[in-house]
Structure formats: structure tokens, C-alpha cells
């Protein structure tokens, strides 16, 4: 794969290959950045006159707290180190990763550790892969750096990561369950207090209800909300405000204010502290299960690789582990087995199911001298093969590596909610401080009252509506899409899907069903349609080949059922022969098969590769011809026309012959088509488009599409696709109707509109509420009513998504 040459970012120092952001100085010098964030940070540091920071050799040497990483010893870790030339590699499972920013921070900090040469961290698995110089740095020091950032590292092994994911999910489930239960209790007391505010309530009763509210809210804020408090603290340390900070600020200020109010006889806000935490935890729980599924995809690809192989010895065959295979070894692959490594057939011929590699569902005839990729299935006969590469470098492993690389190299889009809170949080804090200062200075308030009025500003500014704006719309969109036959993997998918302006479609198995169908049938030598179809049905019934099944189906559709066939014979990849009940001998197969068996073939059998011809001969005379093509999937034309109407750039990419791809492209109305593409070329096509600044939707189903799917802005697969494609898909279409992709796109656009409306509403609330709170005119009960009303409005607005129609 050739992409841009490796460059090094002037700020963070990472090496990268994507399109750089280049700043030209006045003196003509150029500074290169990997991302906008780095560019911003660089400018900030230079503007502060700290430009020399970049010249320091010891910069960002992190403070290492040895004590916290102490439960791993050097010897423990040395077992997990893999030597790679001069460098060593270690895979570390990092717990506590909650957002793309965590990945960003960890990668940047780790790569700055002297001796660490390369860091790559996958968000989905939370697995950091590091290459380091063992003479400069020890794994224990790397561990300490991760610990000092507030994450907990563990040496990675498959079981460990599975166990950790389970523990993390259980933990979140407990926090959520507790929050939900206590919040429901709390609502009862709150309504009693609301009623008491209007109708009057005894002082002792009010006090009692407030104490009970305090009792049930405290665990919600400090136990259930603990992840947000930690996240907020982390983002304060790195000075990168995010959603966590907003949530923690809202919940904590509401809690502190309410505790103060409880003991001074004011109205409390406990329910807002609890509901914010509960609602956001639902979102976290969904996100975690999404990430977990994505992770198992890579391991499922490894599962396709066979673990044992049969080594052909001089006297006897021996079973060996796949890892022991060396290039040049002779191996026996029996019928029904998978090819263990990439290899060359040196004895025998067979049909091979290459669907894992090409997406092509028809078995292909391979003879001596043909190369076979690992993971393909030997369908017909045993063959002896010569290993070309060791197992670690075989096709499956190369695709797995490409997928991992594409995942790690994918630039993470910052989510709308985080972008908003990025400037909203500092603004609110500033305002609160201002209120506090003004009150102290001019109103002559006590410090306590001033602080409380500042807190009430923060509390009003972090309404539930804000926390609900995105999750409510996402939840509505996900459930609507499910009923439309589209599964969306998480809320961020919606945001990315709405930004798409290029769509790439794989051909085989995606735009087409991967199953052949008869498009034309002719008879020759004076035979009637009835005779030929009857004969075809009878002999083809015996064969398991997809082409045979298509012909039997076609004959059945014309009303001809198979009869008893005698003396059936099959030549792999060529054709079949059999004797009809009336004694006629029938040959059915390719042109060359008929010629070889002595049947004169006079007609032109379409050599342009756009259709497959199956010829049928009766008693040595050419009797009929079937033309078969891969059938178009339902809705293929519709999705193309609907997406084209949205000004989207469409392209068909496939590993198939260019002629075939062109024909399908013309058929469905796509202007651009590329045939003969390997998995890395598909990936390259996607990355090229991404570098041009386009947002790419990739639709594919095969193992060969997996790297391209992983790299694309949004990836889409159909149910029944290969595991690895499914696991890499952000959007999964259930059923056969391809036009659901267009529906999903329209739904995502509609969702973004709703989210923006919701956010605008939350801001309107703030614009009205904050000045009132600042001047002390917003009494708690009116604030609570306004809060509930705005949450209700946001929820109802989101429900409008449920009415989206299948076809626009």
C-alpha cells in the first residue's frame, strides 16, 4: 500500500502518513502538523513565547509514580515482549478508555517517552501496540506512564481483554442500575416537594423529604456518576473540556447547591443532579456494547485460519501446527479443508471456494501451478500444495493487519456534542466566576451566598435538555432504523453518515447477490425447448455447483422437474455428464469441456467475460445454451438513483473482471467502475478519497472489503456478509433490500436536523435562564418546571424521527 511519505508532526512529534496541515512562516519556513488540534496547540505555545519547548530534548518526560505500577514486575512483563530486530514489541490492554480523546492523549504521551519508537492504539479494543528500544526504556516505565495518566494498563492476551471488557460492562451496569433505582425513588419525593411548594407543606415534612432526597441522590452522584467525575478531572488536567466535564459540573453543582439549600431551608435541585447522571449512563452502556462487538471481529478472522496442517513426508504424512509450516513445505489439503497458508498447487486439480478472499461465491477450478490463498476451502478433491509463505504472512493475516492498520489510522471525527461543550463549558465557568465576583464586590453578599448564586448559574446552564439533546435523538433514530431494517452501530455513526458525499460499492455479493441466474436460453440442432430443459434439469440436479442450481431453478420455473439420471459423472470446473431415462447421453458444461469430449461447437460463446455460458449436448450434438449472470440485488438501482439525487459521487469497485464490473455499473446507473482490485487497492481507493477531503461510505460484504470498510468514514454491510466485514460495519442492512442504505442516509440527515434543533432549544433555555439566575430571580420550582418542560420538548421533538418513511 503506497500512501503519502511519512512525516513528523511539529507539535506532538508523531509520525504520520495522512495529509498534513502546513503552516508557512513569514521567512518561508514550513511547519507540519498532523491535525488541527496540534496546530492550535503549537500556535498557543508559540504565542505564549514558549517556542523553545520544541527544542528541549527532555520535554514531556512524564512524572513516573513507580508505586502504582508496582504490581507488575519486570519478569512478569518480559513474558509478553516480542522481539522484532533491534526493537521489541509489547501489546498493552489499557482500561479506562472512554472516548477518542483518551486514545489521542495516550498515543501522544506514550510516543514522547524516550525509547518508544511507535505507538498505535485501537479505540475499539483499547489495545496499545508499542515498539520500543529495550536499551533505553523498560516496559515497566511505559506502564508507569500509562498509570500516571490515570489509566490502568495490563499486558494483553486475548482472554485478558475479554475478561476486562466484561468487568467494565458489569461495573457500568451496576452503576446504571443503582442510578435508575434511586432516581425513581427520588422522583416521588420531588413531586411531593413540588406539590408542597404550591399547596403548602409542613416545615418538618419538607425537611424530612429533603433529607431523604439527599440520602438517595448522594450515591447517584458519587457512585454512579464517578466515571464522569474522573473524566472531568482528567479533562481539567489536560485543559480539554468535553462532555464529561459538562455532566460532572451540572451534577456536582446541583448536588452542592441542594445540600446547602437543605440545611438553610431553600428549595432543592436533587432530581436534576440524579437524572443527568442516569440518562448519560444509558448512552455509555450502549456505546460499550457496540465497542465490544467491534473488537470480536478481528479475533473472528483469526478463527477462520486453520490451526493444523498435514505435512507430506517421504514415507508418511504428519500433522503439524500451522506455525511450524516453512515456505517450500509440501502439504496435503483434503476435500472440505481450508488451505492453511498461501500456497501453490503442485499435484492434482480441484475446485476452490474463494469467497473468503474474493467475495465470489462460485467455486473456481484451480490446477497445477495455481496459487491459493489461505482460508479458502477445498471443495472438490484432495491436492498436494507447496507452502509459499509462513502462516504469519499469509493472506488472512495480511488482511487482518490491514484492517488493524486502517482502524488505527482512521482520523476520529470529534462529535458534535463534544465540539459544543468544548467552548460552552469554559464560557459557563467564566460567567459563574463573574457572578460570584460581582456579588461579592457590589451586592455585599456573604461569601456563601455569592458562591451559591455562582453555582445556580452553572446548574441552570447544564440542563437535562442539553444532556438529552443528542441521546434522545440517537435513541429514536436507532429504533426507527431498526424497524426499517437498518442496524446502526452507535450514535456517532449517524453523525458520520450524515456527512457522506462519496459512496463506494463492492460488486460481488453486495450490488449483486453472488448467485447466478439464467438470462438467456437458446436451442440448437433442431431440439425443442422442452427436450433440452428436461435434459438439463435431470443432469444438473445431480450437481451441487451454483451454476447447476441456477439452471435447475430456471427449468423448474418453466415447469420441468428433474427425472432419474444414471451414470452421472462430474469433472471439476469443466462440466458434468449423465444418461437420461430414455438412454440419451447428455453433456453439460463449458465450451472447452464439450470440445474435449468430441462435440462440435459452432456458435460464438460470448468471450467478453460479462456472462457465463453453459452448453448442453445430447448424444454428441450441441442442443442448448444457457447464459448466466450474477443477479442484481433488490433495490440496487433504487439506492443508486436516490443517492445520486443527493449529489453523491458513486463508484463501483470489485475484484472482478473490468468488463463484468462495467456491465453491472451501466445496469444500475453508476458512472464510475473499477475492476480487478485487491484488498489493499480497495483500501487505497478509500484513503485517496479521504485525503481529497471526501467523506466516504463503503458498502461491502467480503473479507477482501474489510480493510476498505475499516478505513471508510462509514462502512456498511449486509446481513449474511463475512464476519470480519460485519464487525467492521457501522451500518448493517438486514434483509436483501439494498435501497435501505439510502433510507439510512436520509434518517441520519433528519437526525442531525433534530439534534441541532434540540441543541438550539437548550441554548434558548440558557439564554433566558442564565440572566434570571444571575440576578437571583429564578426560583427553584420555576427552574424545575422549565427544566422538565424543555426536556419534554426535546424528547417529543426527537420522537418525530419515528415517522420517517421508507422511501422519500
Amino acid at each position: 500500500m503506497s500512501i503519502l511519505p511519512e512525516q513528523s508532526c511539529s507539535h506532538c512529534g508523531i509520525s504520520f502518513r495522512w495529509k498534513a496541515i502546513i503552516d508557512s512562516g513569514d521567512d518561508g519556513s514550513q511547519t507540519i502538523f498532523c491535525c488541527r488540534g496540534c496546530e492550535g496547540a503549537y500556535r498557543m505555545i508559540c504565542a505564549a513565547g514558549l517556542g523553545n519547548f520544541y527544542l528541549r530534548s527532555d520535554r514531556a518526560t512524564p512524572t513516573v509514580s513507580d508505586a502504582s505500577a508496582a504490581h507488575y514486575t519486570e519478569i512478569d512483563l518480559s513474558r509478553h515482549i516480542v522481539s522484532e530486530g533491534d526493537l521489541c514489541r509489547i501489546d498493552i490492554l489499557v482500561c479506562g478508555i472512554t472516548c477518542p480523546s483518551c486514545v489521542w492523549l495516550l498515543e501522544r504521551m506514550l510516543v514522547r517517552v524516550p525509547g518508544v519508537e511507535y505507538v498505535s492504539l485501537s479505540y475499539s479494543g483499547g489495545i496499545a501496540s508499542l515498539r520500543f528500544n529495550p536499551e533505553t526504556v523498560t516496559p515497566l516505565e511505559i506502564f508507569s506512564v500509562i498509570v500516571s495518566l490515570g489509566y490502568s494498563p495490563r499486558p494483553y492476551s486475548v482472554d485478558q481483554s475479554e475478561k476486562e471488557a466484561r468487568r467494565e460492562r458489569d461495573d457500568l451496569l451496576l452503576r446504571f442500575g443503582t442510578a435508575l433505582f434511586l432516581t425513581m425513588q427520588l422522583m416521588v419525593y420531588s413531586y411531593a416537594l413540588y406539590a408542597g411548594y404550591f399547596q403548602g407543606i409542613g416545615g418538618a415534612m419538607k425537611q424530612f423529604l429533603q433529607y431523604v432526597s439527599l440520602l438517595v441522590t448522594t450515591p447517584v452522584v458519587f457512585y454512579s456518576g464517578w466515571p464522569f467525575i474522573i473524566g472531568a478531572w482528567r479533562s481539567l488536567k489536560t485543559a480539554a473540556p468535553g462532555m464529561d466535564l459538562l455532566i460532572a459540573m451540572g451534577a456536582l453543582s446541583a448536588w452542592i447547591y441542594s445540600v446547602w439549600a437543605t440545611f438553610t431551608g431553600h428549595e432543592t435541585y436533587f432530581e436534576s443532579a440524579a437524572t443527568i447522571v442516569t440518562f448519560v449512563l444509558i448512552g455509555r452502556l450502549l456505546e460499550l456494547s457496540v465497542r465490544r462487538r467491534a473488537m470480536s471481529g478481528i479475533s473472528s478472522l483469526y478463527a477462520s485460519a486453520p490451526q493444523r496442517a498435514t505435512l507430506v513426508g517421504e514415507s508418511e504424512h504428519r500433522t503439524i501446527g500451522v506455525d511450524e509450516i516453512r515456505p517450500g513445505d509440501l502439504l496435503l489439503v483434503r476435500q472440505g479443508e481450508r488451505f492453511p497458508v498461501d500456497c501453490l498447487i503442485i499435484e492434482g486439480e480441484t475446485e476452490v471456494d474463494q469467497s473468503l478472499a474474493t467475495g465470489e461465491s462460485q467455486p473456481v477450478l484451480l490446477i497445477c501451478g495455481n496459487e491459493v490463498r489461505s482460508g479458502c476451502v477445498n471443495v472438490a478433491a484432495p491436492v498436494t500444495v507447496q507452502a509459499l509463505r509462513p502462516a504469519g504472512q499469509s493472506y488472512l493475516m495480511r488482511v487482518a493487519a490491514l484492517v488493524q492498520m486502517a482502524q488505527a489510522g482512521k482520523p476520529k471525527l470529534q462529535q458534535l456534542a463534544d465540539r459544543v461543550s468544548g467552548w460552552f463549558v469554559p464560557a459557563v465557568i467564566l460567567l459563574a466566576l463573574l457572578v460570584c465576583a460581582v456579588r461579592l464586590q457590589y451586592s455585599g453578599d456573604s461569601v456563601g451566598t455569592a458562591v451559591m448564586s455562582a453555582l445556580s448559574v452553572i446548574l441552570i446552564a447544564c440542563p437535562c435538555a442539553m444532556g438529552l439533546a443528542v441521546p434522545a435523538a440517537v435513541l429514536a433514530a436507532c429504533s426507527r432504523s431498526a424497524s426499517l431494517g437498518v442496524i446502526l452501530r452507535g450514535g456517532d455513526v449517524i453523525e458520520r453518515l450524515a456527512s457522506i458525499n462519496s459512496a463506494l460499492f463492492d460488486k460481488t455479493g453486495t450490488v449483486t447477490c453472488g448467485l447466478p441466474g439464467v438470462i438467456q436460453f437458446d436451442t440448437y440442432s433442431g431440439y425443442g425447448t422442452a427436450t433440452v430443459l428436461q435434459a438439463a434439469a435431470t443432469v444438473e440436479e445431480q450437481a451441487a455447483h451454483p451454476l447447476a442450481r441456477a439452471i435447475v431453478q430456471y427449468a423448474a420455473g418453466c415447469g420441468y422437474q428433474p427425472e432419474l439420471c444414471r451414470d452421472f459423472r462430474s469433472v471439476p470446473g469443466r462440466g458434468i455428464s449423465g444418461v437420461l431415462p430414455d438412454g440419451k447421453r447428455v453433456l453439460c458444461g463449458s465450451e472447452s469441456f464439450l470440445r474435449e469430449t468430441g462435440t462440435p461447437v459452432s456458435i460464438n460463446c460470448l468471450a467478453d467475460g460479462s456472462a457465463t455460458a453453459v452448453l448442453l449436448a445430447i448424444d454428441g450434438l450441441l442442443a442448448g445454451r444457457f447464459l448466466l449472470v450474477d443477479q442484481l440485488r433488490e433495490g440496487a438501482r433504487r439506492v443508486v438513483s436516490e443517492l445520486a439525487a443527493e449529489q453523491m459521487e458513486l463508484c463501483l469497485i470489485s475484484g472482478d473482471h473490468q468488463n463484468t464490473v462495467d456491465r453491472i455499473a451501466a445496469d444500475i446507473g453508476v458512472l464510475s467502475a473499477q475492476g480487478g482490485m485487491t484488498p489493499d487497492q480497495k483500501l487505497e481507493h478509500v484513503t485517496t478519497l479521504l485525503q481529497q477531503g471526501r467523506q466516504v461510505l463503503m458498502v461491502g460484504d467480503g473479507v477482501n472489503d474489510a480493510p476498505a470498510l475499516a478505513a471508510a468514514t462509514v462502512s456498511c454491510s449486509l446481513s449474511g456478509s463475512s464476519d470480519i466485514a460485519l464487525e467492521n460495519a457501522d451500518v448493517i442492512i438486514t434483509g436483501d433490500d439494498l435501497s435501505r442504505i439510502a433510507t439510512a442516509y436520509r434518517l441520519s440527515r433528519a437526525t442531525m436536523t433534530i439534534i441541532k434543533q434540540n441543541l438550539v432549544w437548550a441554548f434558548v433555555y440558557n439564554i433566558v435562564g442564565i440572566p434570571l439566575a444571575m440576578t437571583g430571580h429564578l426560583t427553584p420550582v420555576y427552574a424545575a418546571v422549565a427544566m422538565t418542560a424543555s426536556s419534554l420538548l426535546v424528547s417529543l421533538n426527537s420522537l418525530r424521527l419515528m415517522r420517517l418513511k421508507q422511501h422519500g
Partner: protein, 46 residues
């Protein structure tokens, strides 16, 4: 009247706490481990 309310609130909290303990037990036991499979299980033959 106030006393009966206090008793009822305390009672509801105790009842809720009991349910909460059952929930914790269920999570620890792995009842929520796979929420997808059970709904398909009744359709399986074996």
C-alpha cells in the same frame, strides 16, 4: 398522618434496597452477560 408517611417512605426504601441487592446479585452471577441469546433460545430445537 405525617408519621404514616415517614413509615411508608422508610418501608419503600427498604423494599427498594432489597430489589437493589437482588439486582447486584444478578449482575455478579452473569444474568446480564448475554441478553441476545435467551430470546432466541425458545426457537431453537435442542
Amino acid at each position: 398522618m405525617d408519621e404514616s408517611l415517614v413509615i411508608l417512605i422508610v418501608l419503600s426504601l427498604c423494599l427498594g434496597a432489597g430489589c437493589w441487592l437482588i439486582f447486584i446479585w444478578a449482575v455478579k452471577k452473569g444474568e446480564f452477560e448475554d441478553v441476545e441469546k435467551p430470546k432466541h433460545r425458545m426457537l431453537d430445537d435442542d
